[in-house]
Amino acid sequence: MAEITIPIGPQHPALKEPINITLKVEGEVIVEPILRIGYNHRGIEKAMEARSYIQNIYLAERVCGICSHVHSSTLVQGAEELLELEIPRRGLYIRTIFLELERIHSHLLWLGVAAHEVGFDTLFMYTWRDREIVMDLLELISGNRVNYAMNTVGGTRRDINDEQKKKLLKGMDALEERTKYYVKIATTEPTFLKRVEGVGILKKEVAKKLCAVGPTARGSGLRMDIRKDDPYAAYDEIPFEAITSDLCDVMGRTVVRVKELLEAYKIIKYAVNNLPAGEIRKKARRKIPENEILSYTEAPRGELLYYIKSNGTEKPERVKIRTPTLANIPSTIEMLKGGYIADIPIVFAAMDPCIACMDRVILVDKKNNERSMNWEALRRYGIKWYEVKR
């Protein structure tokens, strides 16, 4: 059969965020997928250079709508390291509790999205309903559902009191019961299994070669988890397991995420029960001495990386952000190869893409692309185009 090229995106109703997938297909089978990114450059790194570290915490939180705490944690962790600051243990524990609460809400959200992509809307509604439990807990402690603003250089901004502790433990129990039910559903419902088993295969060696991160790598049996490999916050004191699965397909990634949810409940319960007494934050200097640092954490989607270069002032000289989605793009291309067109949404969703947080660079090739135009030229072109239409 002849090869056909199908372009999907960057504007496409089935895509939530702008990305271009050009597919070479033979019938329903994908021969060669080409991904093009860079449609959503927001200039966040440049904006960070113009703001102080304190202001950047809130900007970093807004890199991603789902994993906001992990971004600010990575930033303040880097800044604290540059200041050689010893953070009070209570502050670290609260930070860890929030990191895990965020992982719970992100993974539950993902489970819902994955169910929706395969048309299983009932599971989608149930998971998102139960996600409200963790959202309410986040709001209860931090005062907001999404951008918690809990971090500051030197610790956390808000404490957890006894009543909140009780509610946290109660919420975790309720979620654990529900999650066990979803594990049962996701592993026994045949129509769901048919759509996720053997779909989007990524072999262990390939995942290693393409530097996959997070649940995508762990779903291919690659044991890499920054929380274990290089513990940050309070992860070195809290017992937990790094979940892996050898299934290497979308099912493997689902299993990893769902089991990580169960681990997260354990971590939170342990952290709440063993919350050390004392201060939650230390006063930090505003000016950060000249140095550079690479700070990384395990975001719900995988390894998140911040490079910070300071110059002795209140503002950073350079901040580089590498989000896990970018690291997983090469593996996604590998997963799509040889699959069906109908499987694109679920395979693509399986890496939990967040295009808006990923795009750092926009590439304008003026030499080879004569269609690039400035604002004035675009305006004139628009007027002309509509005149011809009329």
Binding site: I54, Y58, D136, G143, R157, I185, E189
Partner: protein, 115 residues
Amino acid sequence: MKYPGAMLSEIWRHLIKKPATVLYPLERPQIPENFRGKIEYYDDKCIRCGLCARDCPSGACTMKKFEEDKKPRPVFDLGMCLFCGQCAEVCPKDAISLTKKFEFSTFDKSSLIVE
């Protein structure tokens, strides 16, 4: 055991339960105690230090000179505010606080200015 329709008992059980949806304007959501809502500014406590404007990440808080005042005092534009609470945190005299109010959508931009 893999059989189709694993959720059957669950969905039929939900038929008689009260829906989880909060019908917002009719039912009020529970707002927690330390919610970060509309900013309140107490002029009598303010010492015009300008720390809030310096730390505001979005430029919602600016120092504005009024005729009756000697020094400029902070003005908040809620249209730009992120509700991070950094201004309230950094304020040495607790002249700024975040309330539980959250409904201020409007057609009139001037109603979003807190002085």
